[in-house]
Amino acid sequence: MDKKFTMHVDVDAFLPASDKEKEYMVQMRPSSTFFKDGVKRLLKNRVATISFIIIVLITLASIIIPMFWPYSYDSMLGVRPGRPVDPSYNNLQPFSYGRTELKKIEAGEKVFPHVFGTDSAGRDYFIRVVYGTRISLAVGFFASIIVLIIGMTVGSIAGYCGGKVDLIIMRIVDIIYSLPDMLLVILLASVLKMTLGPALAGTALEKIGSNIISLFIVFGVLYWVSMSRLIRGQILSLREQEYVLAARAAGAKGSWVIRKHLLPNCISVVIISTALQIPNAIFTESYLSFLGLGVNAPMPSLGSLASDALNGLSSYPFRMVIPAVVISLIVLSLNLFGDGLRDAFDPKLRN
């Protein structure tokens, strides 16, 4: 058959593929999603995995232990209604007992041990440390969420709108960013402490305590700026990426581009910086507690426990060491885990 130009389609090119040809198309392994990939990389990072396990253990312990521990964080063991205060319960060494407890033990009863002893007001120190850990973790977590929400909203507004809105928002961000944050945190915390106390009396928020609320307000006012800068930058640069253009050229709709291209790329950065924000918040909370501007007494936080321990440092050094170790462990493992998250989910940042 002589070859000549026809408008007819070459039918041979459309035959079903042979088995040999099909072999080339077989997937060697199932395709991996972005998330799966990241988790795999994260699990390979031994330091990050161990840090994560430590964080989970500490968190679970701080939630579960108060459920069955026989002592509560604010009950003074030496104080019984209708009787004089029993000073033998104050400042107990670890695993020692108060006077009435010793009697019970002699009588053959079992008394739950004071693992870390008691503090100067006769409160079981172990449960106070556990409770303090819980408070510190909760403050860190919620403060980061507040920062995340405000920062994300403002940052994405600035990034999407651009133009004048962006300019004004970014100038405000610049100024807040160059403010000495810690000084203003102290100032705001000390003023809010006095202002919020009476305002909250009688409401549901009173139980949380005016100091923690003012801490959240301070975080909401001052710490969102770096998050919003980050997200604005992400959105601005992602909008101009070639793959977004390619997707648009291929006919993708706006919602598809946002869901499949912008969000997944943004979210890793958001999660990472939120994770790195938590230790920061815990640091700030403990710092303020140490200055007497943290949680309301008798509620303990790791910072206020350390601050209280300073008075009896020479006689009871372990009361300082225990919260110190816990807080350093939490901050260290959160930082290492955050670094691991960054390495795993944001390969662009790796060097």
Binding site: L183, T195, L313, S314, M320, I327, L332
Partner: protein, 309 residues
Amino acid sequence: MSPKTLKYILKRIGLAILTVWVVITVTFFVMHAVPGGPFMSEKAVSPAAQAALEAKYGLDKPLLEQYFTYLKDVVTRFDFGPSLKQRGRMVIDIIRDGMKTSVKLGVVAACMAGIVGIVLGAVAALRRNKIIDKIIMVITTAFVSMPSFIMGSLLLALFAIHWAILPANGSTSKGLILPIITLALYPMAYITRLTRSSMLDVLGQDYIRTAKAKGVSGVKIIFGHALKNSLIPVITYFGPMLAYIVTGSLVVEQIFAVPGIGRAFVSSITNRDYPMVMGTTIVLAVLIVVMNLISDIMYKIIDPRINLE
């Protein structure tokens, strides 16, 4: 200096001035938002005496007028008014007294952190992945994740109480050793890590390879070529380090009873000495803003490769 650099510097100065103004304004209005005003804590004051006190301190005037008077006094004469709790003393005098000790403390701590940090960082980078590098990295990681008040308390417990080799009270110059170490450890650890990573970065550059190929000795490469360039990121840390030292000194001076501005600030918060709180906040804020400004400008001038946008 190119016009672009000049423009950048002017812009940065403008932002710094704006920041200082925001600090003064925020401080003023936040302090005046406290219900009852500054004399509320003194309960046994008759209405007449209260009015007299308010008239004396100008608190009976409208808030905006008070604000502009305050702003004028602060900007033109560094006058923060009299202290409410330390009768007969001006806030600026108390600040000046406290500054003498605090500046000594801060400058020595900063120098120590810088020198030790750079040396350790360089050593770690040169012995990369060797045992000494690993030891340095583990120790600095631990220091970076320890709040200054815990570091201070632990040092106090060990050196002043357990071994009793250094005084716990920071009012003598020997007593300043522990507070200085406490303040220096965190920035030292940070600078070590910063120097290490930037040194590793520089050591991978082409010009280092060229120098090696030319047969330049190892010591000369490090001190002649690598160190100078790897210190550029360290300069950017200069501003944040000062901010850290200023805020860190608040608790460190508290722990070691150092008669500095940090302790004065904390006690003025607890006994509600409003003019003192405002004055100290403003002075410390100006200090931090100015130092940030200097470190930013230095950074841009030293490294001409940096894009000013």
